[in-house]
Each structure stands twice: as structure tokens, then as C-alpha cells.
Point group: C2
Chain length 214, copies 2
């Protein structure tokens, strides 16, 4: 049986343009919805969970090597707190908290829309763990919507790293997301990453299919 992705690659190879929607008209990109989460440095793991603590994989994510950890923290802002915010692994050189605009209102935190790692001038928060707390300074963002893909996907979709594309969703809350950044790496699996606000607004769920439109 030919799946949508293979069908899309065949159509691309045959140079049939990707217009509109559906199995015959484009490569389906699965949706991955990012709930609020935090990437931690080992130094911050030590402060939150105890010196030398190692975070434990709980569930593999679709992006190779990435996992949801068993560990959660509480996020505290000037107007409120949110408990059970998931830690993602593996540890990174610098901690980074990713929240939605709805979370920003609940916490009283101003976090700009940014790509991962683009932290200068971003938001502040406090994380509380069982062994202590850490202050995040310019380490809180709302993640910019983006598509992960490898080089084969990029060729099939006729896009390049850093390009901005339009992505269409279907259904009763159908919409077209502008300003979607393409991120290409051989470490990436094909996935359209949006946050919970964006998923709710579009009425989509994890693994729903979306399409790049011109």
C-alpha cells in the first residue's frame, strides 16, 4: 500500500505541482503539538533535583534522540504558577522554558515568539524542583511555529533550511499558518511543530496531516 508520504515523493519526482490539499496533491506533514516544557542544563538539574542527578527517559519523542523525562518542575511567575511542567531530554548547554501565550497570561511572564536557542531579550521565570529552585533569566520563549525535516524531505518538498512557508490545516477550524520556518537537518524527522494555542485554534491533534501551500 502506498502511503501519503511516498505518494507525495512520487508526485514530486514526476514534477506534478503541489496545489490544494489531499493525497494526490502534496506531501502530508504530521502535526506535533508542543505543550509547555523545559530543557535543562545539568547545572540546573543539579539545583532542582540534587547534585549529580540524572534525568530519566519516560517517553521517546518523534525527533530522534529527544525524550520526555519522568521529571517535572513547577514554573512560577509574578502572577501565578503552573505545576507539572515536563522536562525534556537530553540536557542542553543552557536551560530554556517554552510556554504558550495563554501560559504567559496565567504566569504574568512576557515571553517573545522565538526560534529555539534565540534567547537574548526573552522572558524570565523561576523553576521549583524537589531539591531547590533556579532563576531563568532571558530563557523563556513562545516557540515559533516550524517544520522539522531531513534533506530528503526538503528536496521532496522543494524547500530549504530557514525558508518561510505557508501551512494549511483542514476541518471546521481550518486555517493557513504563515511564517512557518523550515528547519532542515539529517537529525530531524518530518514534523510540523506548533504550541497548544495554535493547535486549539486550528482544531488539530497530534499526527493530523497538514500541507505546505504556496
Amino acid at each position: 500500500m502506498i502511503n501519503q508520504q511516498l505518494m507525495g515523493k512520487i508526485l514530486t519526482r514526476l514534477n506534478i505541482p503541489n496545489v490544494g490539499m489531499g493525497i494526490n496533491q502534496g506531501i502530508a506533514i504530521p502535526v506535533g503539538i508542543s505543550n509547555r516544557h523545559v530543557h535543562l542544563s545539568q547545572q540546573d538539574v543539579d539545583a532542582l533535583f540534587g547534585h549529580g542527578y540524572q534525568i530519566t527517559p519516560f517517553k521517546d519523542l518523534k525527533q530522534p534522540g529527544q525524550f520526555a523525562a519522568k521529571e517535572c518542575v513547577m514554573v512560577v511567575g509574578p502572577k501565578g504558577s503552573i505545576s507539572k511542567v515536563r522536562v525534556l531530554g537530553p540536557v542542553r548547554p543552557q536551560s530554556q522554558l517554552e510556554i504558550s501565550k495563554a501560559d504567559c497570561f496565567a504566569l504574568g511572564i512576557k515571553a517573545p515568539v522565538r526560534s529555539s536557542g534565540d534567547l537574548a531579550g526573552s522572558g524570565n521565570a523561576v523553576l521549583m524542583g524537589p531539591a531547590g529552585y533556579v532563576e531563568l533569566k532571558q530563557q523563556v520563549i513562545c516557540a515559533q511555529r516550524h517544520i522539522h525535516m531531513n534533506n530528503i524531505d526538503a528536496r521532496a518538498l522543494n524547500v530549504t533550511n530557514g525558508q518561510k512557508v505557508h501551512v494549511k490545516t483542514e476541518g471546521e477550524r481550518s486555517l493557513i499558518f504563515d511564517e512557518v520556518i523550515v528547519r532542515v537537518s539529517d537529525k530531524f524527522a518530518l514534523e510540523f511543530h506548533i504550541d497548544t494555542d495554535e493547535a486549539n485554534a486550528a482544531g488539530v491533534r497530534n499526527n493530523d496531516s497538514v500541507f505546505i501551500v504556496s
Copy 2:
């Protein structure tokens, strides 16, 4: 000084097509963001606040005759509760709770995306007030995105009641909302109504300008 709305009407009269964005290319429609809220019947006001209680206007809404009341209620679902949910007035023949998809997850309530008043098969919830509680049965919806306008606006925008249009927002979270219902009445003021999920996803605020695009 010629404002955007007047400019749009002049362009429409001159039969210049509305393409793209900006002051010369269309009529700016102001955004109105609906946070979770409830419309109550007098019977339910009695149950929640006491027999014969009259809700009190707190702030006029943009739609003529509509107001946010001083009164709030608590909404309770199988998974959680949300306090301080605003009552809107005046009272209606039937109570109707309007929440976001994010609220649905927090409360454990399944509410479909519907136009106001289209309640058959919609969600359930419990409302708690200072004098008692009421059960809402098939009275909970996620409001379908729509544009209120009067007949003059409709002629200027070249749309009719019930028509579905595309609405474009600008900025770093720019997107195009499909499936936007036009609602025309001489009682309406021009306003694009979306919920908090949709506003966050688009990065727009109250009174930001959006445009109908083909």
C-alpha cells in the same frame, strides 16, 4: 483625515478589488477577543444568585446593547473548575456557556465548535453561584469564529449573511483564518470575534486590524 474604514468604503464604491493587505487594499475589521463567558436565562440567574436577582452592567461591549455584568460564576467539569467566569447580559431565553478548547481540556468538557445558539448535541457543565448551582445540558460550545457587521458594512465588504470568508492577520504569528462566518444585522457593530486560543495563535490583541482576503 480619512480613516481606514472610510478609505475601504471609497475603494469598494470605486470597484477596486480588495487584494492583499493595508490601508489601500481593504476595510480594516477590528478584532474582538472573547474570553470564556456565560449568557444566562433569568431562571438560571435566580438559581445562581437568588430569586428575582437582576444582573448589573459592568462594562458595555462593542455589540450594541450587550454588556459584561459585574457577576461571575464558577464553571465545574469532571476534571477541574474555573472560577470568575464572566456573565454577559442582557439575559437570554436559554443559558449558554462559551469556552475555549484549552478550557475544555482543563475542565474535562467536550464542547463542539458551533455558532451561538446552535446547541443541540453540545457540551455539559455545572455552574456554581453564591446562591446555588445549575446544570447546563447541551449548553456549552466553543464559539465559531465570525464577523459581526451591519448591512452597510456587508455591502462595502461585498459579502452576505452566512457567507464564509478568509480573514488575514499580520505580524510574527500571521495567519489566515478559513471558515469565518459573516453575520449581518443592523444591530451589529463591525467586529471579528475569535476566542483566546485563536487570538494567542495569531498573536493579535483587541482592536487590532484584520482584513478579508479572497
